[in-house]
């Protein structure tokens, strides 16, 4: 077995939390149950990985098989990478019959015709997700297995989720291969990025809970329920609290919010100040970048009004994120594209 493959497997196993190693190796299926039984998974991870490499040596693993283990790891822990969403377009209106074999063939052919040194792996999952792992090389060097790009594509949808590696120069080639393989015409990057792949899918596939008014029965609030709170406590602003709850519900829905970590607003608006102050000599847009960061931005926005930190309803610029499927905005003067909102000093 190649030394580089051995090292790659060893490092991949080291990334996996110790309690999950056995499960992932089983999913991988490259080592038999009997072989797995011989490994003591309770020892130090260093030793576990050495044992695993030893077994892979016995089975003569090659890089393609090692790559599968990497896909499995990234599929279970996708949140370690940043994912961008790309949207594809086509003009034809015929029904698509997505043929997986055809897709894989076209994709590989396009990539390999431009760049001979690439490692390409595919893995399909139950939810119709196709995971593609690409390790990039150059015309003169072998593929670098540590600088990989990941692509997740659901058939017959116009969205592709890409976690590019550092080598962004290969992105145009990757995009081209995707467009050709999936029978679309062009592709563009959306202004939507996050660590949480599932949340990005929720946003573009519209799987997050939107509050639709239907006749489906909602449990009615009990009328004669004894109040749980102490009767000595008087709620002063009950009406206001209820108004805020109602507005919040209308905007955010009842279910959990998609998980994004930041929203960025690039302002290209004019500085508005008291004319007498005359702060800026030239009438130029005042460039400013506002970035909201949070472990879970949308949930924190949802809790702003009930916590009394902001007025309800919140600005549309914040609440439109799932619906507009973007978290990077450019705000220009009102004549521009977006629901203009000025930032007054």
């Amino acid at each position: 077995m190649d030394e580089t493959v051995a090292e790659y497997i060893r490092r991949t196993v080291l990334k996996i939390p110790r309690d999950e190693i056995k499960m992932m190796l089983q999913k991988w299926g490259f080592l038999s149950e009997a072989q797995l039984e011989t490994v003591n998974f309770r020892q130090m991870k260093d030793n576990v990985s050495q044992d695993v490499v030893q077994l892979c040596e016995e089975n003569s693993a090659d890089i393609k098989q090692a790559a599968v283990l990497d896909i499995i790891y990234n599929n279970i822990y996708p949140n370690k990478r940043i994912w961008s969403v790309y949207q594809m377009n086509k003009t034809g209106e015929e029904t698509e019959f997505f043929d997986l074999t055809d897709f894989k063939k076209k994709f590989k052919r396009r990539l390999r015709s431009a760049l001979k040194n690439v490692t390409i792996n595919f893995r399909e999952y139950e939810d119709n997700a196709i995971w593609i792992r690409i390790a990039w090389g150059t015309p003169y060097t072998k593929p670098n297995q540590y600088k990989t790009s990941y692509v997740v594509y659901h058939s017959q949808t116009p969205y592709v989720f890409i976690s590019a590696s550092v080598l962004r120069s290969n992105l145009p080639l990757l995009c081209q291969a995707l467009v050709i393989a999936s029978n679309y015409h062009d592709i563009r990057e959306m202004e939507l990025r996050s660590h949480s792949l599932n949340s990005l899918k929720d946003i573009v596939f519209k799987r997050y809970s939107q509050n639709f008014q239907t006749y489906y029965p909602r449990p009615l609030p009990e009328r004669n329920v004894a109040p749980e709170t102490d009767l000595r406590i008087i709620q002063e602003n009950r009406n206001e609290k209820e108004r805020i709850q109602r507005l919040n519900r209308e905007v955010f829905g009842d279910g959990p919010q998609p998980k994004i970590e930041f929203a960025q607003y690039k302002l290209e608006t004019m500085f508005k100040s008291d004319p007498k102050m005359d702060v800026l000599d030239k009438k130029e847009p005042f460039r400013c970048l506002v970035k909201f960061s949070s472990p879970h931005l949308l949930e924190s926005l949802k809790s702003l009004a009930p916590a009394g930190m902001a007025d309800a309803p919140l600005s549309q610029l914040l609440t439109c994120i799932p619906q507009k499927a973007r978290n990077y905005f450019k705000i220009r003067e009102k004549k521009g594209l977006l629901p203009g909102s000025f930032v007054s000093p």
Partner: protein, 276 residues
């Protein structure tokens, strides 16, 4: 003396003022109630006129003359219940229900396949300035925009009907594929290749002949997006397979075109397909 007298007068003046105020308040209240009674009477007359008009309209069609006296409250209630039941019946039969919202209408399309209720999908439509889709929960691989471009502005009923057909067919195909994977995984060799729309299925399954098993490779193409049965079935077997197998392949191919996928497999099991 004088002060006591003044106090008395003051008291009397005060009481008179209070009484005056009370009377004024009473009069105000009376005036308010009188106007309210006027309003209610007006409303009642309007409603009566409406009911009369409706009755006359119906009678006009039948050509009979009945007593134009105002309908009883009971009759009105019965009419309301009847029309509500009819509405619910429509919802139940078509799976399409709607509710007026602040800015338009919100539709819910419920899907089912052969008696099993499956997913529900929602559409929030705006009606001004023109009919447009505000938001929805239709899966991205259903050609919603195409269907909307064709029918939404001109014929909303047709739009809903076509969309409902697409959705029902999709969940039907998906249901069959899921059932196949769940209940007949033993007969399937390898993985079932499918896609998001479930309109192309490729898999291998085993058939037995002369106490030997042979793999069949089948490719099901569902050409009609509004149909849950395949339009094209291609079954191929290995070159060394015995001749009677070709007949079986043709029979299976025909069966897949007519019968739901999981039901076809169920019939294989029970019939004990054997060719000797």
């Amino acid at each position: 003396g004088v002060f006591a007298h003044l106090e008395l007068l003051e008291e009397r003046a005060y009481e008179a003022a209070v009484k005056q105020e009370e009377m004024e308040q009473q009069e105000e209240k009376l005036a308010r109630l009188k106007t309210r009674v006027q309003e209610l009477r007006l409303q009642r007359d309007e409603l009566r006129a409406k009911v009369d008009l409706q009755q006359k309209g119906q009678l006009g069609k039948e050509g009979a003359v009945s007593n134009p006296a105002q309908p009883s409250a009971r009759a009105v209630l019965e009419w309301k219940i009847k029309s509500l039941k009819a509405m619910l019946q429509i919802f139940y039969l078509t799976g399409i229900s709607g509710k007026l919202s602040k800015r338009g209408v919100c539709f819910c399309i419920s899907t089912a396949y052969e008696g099993t209720y499956l997913d529900s999908f929602h559409l929030d439509l705006l009606t001004k300035p023109e009919v447009q889709i505000y938001r929805h929960s239709v899966p991205i691989f259903i050609p919603l925009q195409q269907i909307a471009k064709k029918y939404l502005q001109t014929d909303i009923r047709r739009f809903l009907s076509v969309l409902s057909d697409h959705l029902n067919a999709y969940v039907g195909r998906r249901y069959q594929a899921d059932q196949l994977q769940e209940h007949f995984s033993g007969q399937i060799e390898g993985t079932l290749q499918r896609n998001s729309l479930c309109n192309l299925l490729v898999f291998n399954y085993n058939v037995s002949s002369e106490s030997k098993t042979f793999p069949f490779n089948v490719r099901l193409l569902y050409g009609d997006p509004c149909c849950s049965l395949p339009t094209e079935v291609v079954i191929s077997c290995t070159p060394d397979a015995p001749a009677p197998l070709a007949e079986m392949a043709a029979a299976h191919s025909d069966l897949f075109r007519r019968v739901a996928l999981h039901k076809a497999f169920r019939s294989f099991g029970s019939a004990g397909e054997r060719v000797d």
